[in-house]
């Protein structure tokens, strides 16, 4: 049997044949640098996931306010704390990809105390409630009237997201890479949020609902995480804007 080293035949447990040394060196350099470069290119091509996060560092937040249903549960804060001021409107969600509608519906229009952990991304925030009555329970007192200010019909461009991941439960919490997660959250009844390209009446985040103030229509799920334009009625509830979208105007932008 001839010596494999003479013929440049690679055998893993033998020294590298001289005829193959240059070739293997070139392949190694190309492979390592190429993969590193490819990884760097892919990484830099991604959008900045932003600074949203669960604010466990704030500790448990407990505030009191009036429960509203859009139908997604909101709390119009009447007794706040240092993190959540009075007058603020909080979107409410359950743990994971769940909602708190069953717990909030009996308290609609009433004063309630809510408790949980905040998610925060810039001006956008949400409260993930604790389980059961620890998360939301009726509070003593008479609920003050809470006004809603209609702002008319608007044509907006932006992205439909699930509010919880966008607020910081996931990073990235928006974009195509997050579409499946966003749709699962929306199926779970997590409040959806529309991110506008530019501020509407001072805010670029709007809670988005169906045209009749109902849940986000399922036809909108196909458009989640894509850049779209749509029309709808906008109203202000405290410091939160609510967009009642018209699904017939949904259009994917080029």
């Amino acid at each position: 049997m001839s010596d494999p080293r003479k013929h440049g035949f690679f055998v893993g447990y033998l020294p590298i044949p001289p005829a193959l040394r240059g070739f293997l060196l070139v392949i190694c350099v190309l492979l390592i640098s190429g993969l590193a470069g490819f990884g760097l290119a892919l990484g830099t091509a991604q959008d900045d996931p932003g600074q949203g996060a669960f604010r466990f560092d704030y500790g448990r937040q407990t505030v009191t306010g009036v429960v509203e249903l859009t139908p997604y549960p909101l709390l119009r804060v009447t007794i706040g704390n240092e993190r959540i001021p009075e007058g603020h409107t909080l979107m409410l969600a359950g743990g994971g990809k769940t909602n708190v509608e069953n717990r909030a519906i009996p308290l609609e229009g009433q004063l309630a105390q809510v408790s949980g952990v905040m998610l925060q991304r810039g001006d956008l925030d949400m409260l993930q409630l604790r389980g059961g009555a620890d998360g939301i329970s009726a509070a003593e007192g008479v609920a003050p009237p809470m006004g809603t200010v209609p702002l008319g019909r608007w044509q907006l461009a932006g992205e439909i997201c699930d509010g919880k991941c966008l607020s910081g439960a996931m990073r990235p919490g928006r974009g195509l890479a997050h579409k499946a997660c966003a749709n699962l959250c929306l199926l779970g009844g997590v409040p959806p949020v529309f991110v506008s390209t530019q501020p509407v009446d001072g805010s670029e985040f709007l809670l988005i609902t169906g045209p009749e103030g109902d849940h986000l229509p399922e036809t909108a799920y196909d458009y989640v995480a894509q850049y779209v334009s749509l029309e709808g009625e906008v109203e202000r509830r405290g410091d939160l804007l609510v967009l009642r979208m018209d699904p017939n105007t949904l259009r994917v932008l080029d």
Binding site: D47, W154, Q155, Q198, Y221, E231, D254
Partner: protein, 125 residues
């Protein structure tokens, strides 16, 4: 029907046909084409997941064996004949997919400003 429902429906139809094929092949077909399988049953449920996925291939191979068109020696052909082509097509295809995805990606329409189409009804009154 939404895109997600269409994908789910497609998977259900594919899996449903696969279940029928698995039931027929693992109870009848396998005894007809593989003498070594006759009288052996415990291993058959283990094949169900694979048949659910590749049932067209199972049907095709079953057909070849039943009609005597199978070339038994072909089973022992080394597959490397096609490896060279596949070896190039696979990485090129993956790179092409990634590059196409990046090129097709939407850009954030930052220049599209919100437009108020109508003022609130209450304001009109």
């Amino acid at each position: 029907m939404s895109q997600a429902e269409a994908i789910l429906m497609g998977l259900r139809v594919w899996g449903g046909i696969g279940a029928v094929v698995a039931a027929a092949f693992l109870t009848i077909g396998i005894d007809r084409i593989d003498a070594d399988a006759r009288g052996a049953y415990v291993f058959r449920p283990l094949l169900i997941p694979a048949v659910l996925v590749i049932w067209p291939l199972v049907l095709w191979r079953w057909y070849l064996y039943e009609t005597g068109r199978v070339h038994w020696h072909g089973r022992y052909d080394p597959p490397r004949r096609s490896h060279y082509l596949v070896g190039w097509l696979l990485p090129i295809g993956i790179c092409a997919l990634i590059v196409t995805g990046l090129l097709q990606r939407q850009s954030w329409p930052a220049d599209v400003a919100p437009v108020q189409l109508s003022i609130p009804t209450e304001a009109v009154e």
